[in-house]
Subunit: 538 residues, 2 copies
């Protein structure tokens, strides 16, 4: 028997309209280089998203069409999020840091009908255009006048496109499972794969992410969008902040430590999410400039394993609570978060530290499990190590146009190697492709990295497996020293002693000037393996 | 085009399993008169709910069957919530304070197959039994031994029913729109009407209620279930607390001020929800005993208009933040809540007070509007007064077995008369049936009541319209004086002067020893109108 409750669908347009009704004058700030901050509000967002939807209608965009963005975080990008998805089309956010060939592949695979781009990407667009036959319009995110400056003459401008369009738009009601966004994730092998979010998944994820035991987002918050809007929809934060009526601050292109600090201080930011590299840059700036954050009180850190030292600095020196989260493009992305349980209130500092480097417990709505190589369930005892599997309403079922990627058992296999303890705390020991297999056993590259980064003279470290004739693979540490440090390889190895099993001891340490980072700020281990993986170890 | 996210349904069994996985050892405490507190945990709840589901299976209960409860708040009632709904049957919570005839009507209308009852209701059950032919089993919530004490011999006991049943149960996955609970709301006219909640509505409501800008429920909380589990599923709090892993404290039958204070102090309660009468009793006890709450930090108040003085006492004298909410059985129940916006941070005390007596802004997910007598939309300007309409995924679409109650326009008409301002703050001025119509204009009975209760000598007040030959109706105040007070009718009328329009001035004030309260703790205006409504006013 079915209940007799309303069938109101969960739609992104409802989030937008809720914000315009309940928080009409709450500010949305966008920082762009060389210009004063742009300020609008949720009622402004509704107005302009409505104009955009009318404009898209007028050029024949239909529900289900893919409309792409190639842009940094800004109010216009936010309008694209709501305008495109709200009318029933699919907002496809392209990562501009991918290789040109990957972008071409993605646009053609998605069959994008329109691409909206920042003028910063004009050269990129010129190289894409001849290769992307499905795109009927390339529209730059600016005023008609901006074009002349940078030579985008001939392209229509976003403001021109919107001008003359009505501010009234009747947002259609449709199935909440309708696709709202498309985001390609670039595996290390093969072509990028598209994750096709639905309105339902986006709304449920926003709600779960805002909960007190997750990111605790409220109307008292000022949320900075630091993680790029082309990376898993900026971790869902644009939707989450709009739904709760937080003040929104869009970081734009510059997310170095100094820029972030200025931005946070100028606008009273209380919450931001970013990858460890971004937070490392922020902390390094605070330290070198001898300044402190005055309004920031929470930092969501995820996307790659977070060194304990970074968490401690943020918490103990700057009073910023660290929320260590885990997720993937395929999980919308927030799936687990590390928050102490009430029984941990009396934990020692060391216990707190060792718990916080774990990736945390499943958000309400998400279920996690571990499988061995034969797809058998492993126990949640904090010891058994295996493949992490996930399921829930905001987890991908299959990749776009890859029906064969759908699994019959209903779980998503993450490719992460983890343990889960009896309170549900999950800890990533490795990406399955980064695991170091030595003499038939596994060595966790993440644990070795975290230890290295706990050394006061080390700024960043990555550990890869290098070929070994007897043991198959042995660990090699690649590390960036703090400026002026005089640490030698042997010192770091000595530092490891007593902290790890003997056979985990890295075979060598190489100091480098910097580590290569991918498009979303993560260390590119593929690149490191290319460069160092075949170095003889003996 | 549909998205490619998992179709995991939103089910109450997922809440239960999430709690058992993530908060296995968090406590669930139940207080019963004359016995030590009963303590279990979320893993215990899962175990026993599973045994219950197996037991119901064994007597042939099928998905969709209605299984009723006639009980106070306790761990067994909580097991019934999850066990019955989790297996796909409908948990029908009966309000034992209704008239026997109403209960008989309800059981027959619902066609309940089983009734689980507290031994306290044994006499009631005896009078119901002959009149309720659909009920195949009456099972009392106790041990086999308990029966002898109170003469329920012959009835099966709950513990006997569960014993021998397996603790393993494979909770079925089904459509999230499946009915999970049934709650009859007793209108003042006609028969009670059944609201049929769905798993989807219950899960979404829990999530929205837990959000930081609503009740802010987290795993750090100890939530007391004070509002009865037969009143709109105890305001959804059993689900909400389980989903977030809060410690749960079930108040049982005694919710007088002293019992509540003891309960809160004994178990470190941080949050509880209740009607104003309950909170009035609590505050009166604190005052007379000269004690203060040491752990309670939030009180959700709703169900009927809340006097400003009560809110102020709780906040200013006892440091308890008041969350003023509005809802109905038909709205799951939480639909609006009064929380200051960030621009209100600098408000004066008077402004804060006048905003807090409002019922607040729509929760994320709920939409509210006002209609005039011709079903035309009225503006949200804080002035236009009309019928409140609501919609959203946890609002009733129709009543059980009353298909004619479903409206084509998709809105639910609440029967409350309200204003809504430009920030979305809704204020109830009356129930439409309580509005006092004087000379063709409306007088708000709630405003007159709130003013009366702001008088330091008045404990509780109700205002009704009494027949008047010239003006149709005129206001009459019925008030309970503080013990020992020497206030006279004229004093109160003088107190009104300057605070209301002249023509709103009540015609008279009658002091009574107490006001009649209905089954859910609200003042029974029907009763007052019966007693005093035809009194000549002139
Ligand atoms: N905060 C509140 N202020 C005034 N009236 C309220 C409030 N909350 C609930 N009510 C009344 O209670 C009714 C619902 O009753 P019930 O379904 O029995 O819970 C609503 O229609 C309102 O008239």
């Amino acid at each position: 028997m079915l209940g007799l409750m309303m069938q109101t669908p969960l739609l992104l347009s409802s989030i937008l309209m809720h914000a315009a009704r309940s928080f009409p004058d709450v500010e949305i700030v966008s920082r762009t280089p060389d210009k004063p901050d742009h300020i609008t509000s949720y009622s402004g967002l509704l107005e302009r998203s409505s104009r955009l939807a009318n404009a898209l209608d007028s050029i024949g965009i239909k529900p289900g069409d893919r409309v792409a963005t190639l842009a940094w975080n800004s109010y216009r990008h936010l309008e694209l999020y709501f305008g495109i998805s709200g009318m029933g089309a699919v907002c496809h956010t392209i990562n501009p840091r991918l290789f040109v060939d990957q972008i071409i592949y993605i646009i053609n695979h998605a069959e994008d009908a329109v691409v909206f781009f920042d003028l910063a990407f004009i050269d990129l667009v010129h190289s894409l255009m001849p290769q992307c036959p499905t795109v009927e319009a390339w529209i730059y995110l600016g005023e008609a006048g901006d074009a002349k400056i940078v030579g985008a003459k001939g392209f229509p401008s976003y403001e021109g496109f919107l001008s003359g369009c009505s501010e009234a738009y009747a947002w259609p009601e449709f199935d909440e499972n309708t696709a709202c966004g498309l985001c390609y994730t670039s595996g290390t092998t093969g072509n990028p794969k598209g994750v096709l979010y639905s309105h339902r998944s986006a709304v449920l994820h926003s709600c779960a992410a805002a909960l007190p035991d997750a990111c605790r987002i409220s109307l008292d918050d000022t949320v900075a969008l630091v993680s790029p809007m082309f990376h898993a929809m900026s971790w869902g934060m644009p939707y989450c902040a709009t739904a709760t009526g937080s003040k929104l601050v869009m970081a734009g292109q510059n997310v170095d430590g100094e820029s972030l600090h200025r931005l946070f201080e100028d606008h009273g930011v209380t919450f931001a999410g970013g990858v460890p590299t971004v937070w490392l840059g922020y902390v390094r700036y605070l330290q070198s400039a001898g300044v402190k954050p005055t309004t920031l009180n929470r930092a969501l850190i995820g996307g790659t394993a977070c060194p304990a030292s970074l968490m401690e600095t943020l918490q103990d020196e700057y009073g910023v609570e660290v929320l260590h989260g885990w997720g993937m493009t395929e999980t919308s992305p927030l799936a687990t978060i590390s928050k102490p349980l009430r029984k941990h209130m009396t934990s020692s500092r060391a216990e707190r530290r060792s718990r916080q480097v774990k990736q945390g417990r499943a958000l309400f709505g998400v279920e996690i499990g571990i499988r061995d190589g034969n797809n058998r369930k492993l126990p949640h005892d904090g010891k058994a190590v295996g493949d992490l599997v996930v399921r829930g309403p905001w987890i991908a079922r299959a990749y776009y146009k890859m029906p064969e990627s759908e699994r019959a058992d209903g779980w998503f296999f993450t490719g992460d190697v983890v343990t889960i303890d009896s309170d549900g705390y999950m800890q990533v020991t490795d990406r399955s492709k980064d695991v170091i297999k030595s003499g038939g056993e596994w060595i966790s590259s993440i644990e070795l990295e975290n230890l290295a980064m706990a050394h006061p003279e080390i700024v960043e470290a990555a550990v890869i497996g290098i070929a070994h004739p007897k043991w198959d693979e042995r660990p090699l540490v690649l590390a960036v020293r703090r400026q002026g440090a005089r640490l030698e390889a042997q010192d770091l190895l000595t530092f490891y002693e007593g902290k790890i099993a003997k056979w985990w001891m890295p075979d060598d340490v190489l100091f480098v000037d910097e580590l290569p980072h991918g498009a979303t700020g993560k260390v590119l281990k593929t690149k490191l393996r290319e460069l160092y993986g075949n170095r003889d170890s003996a």
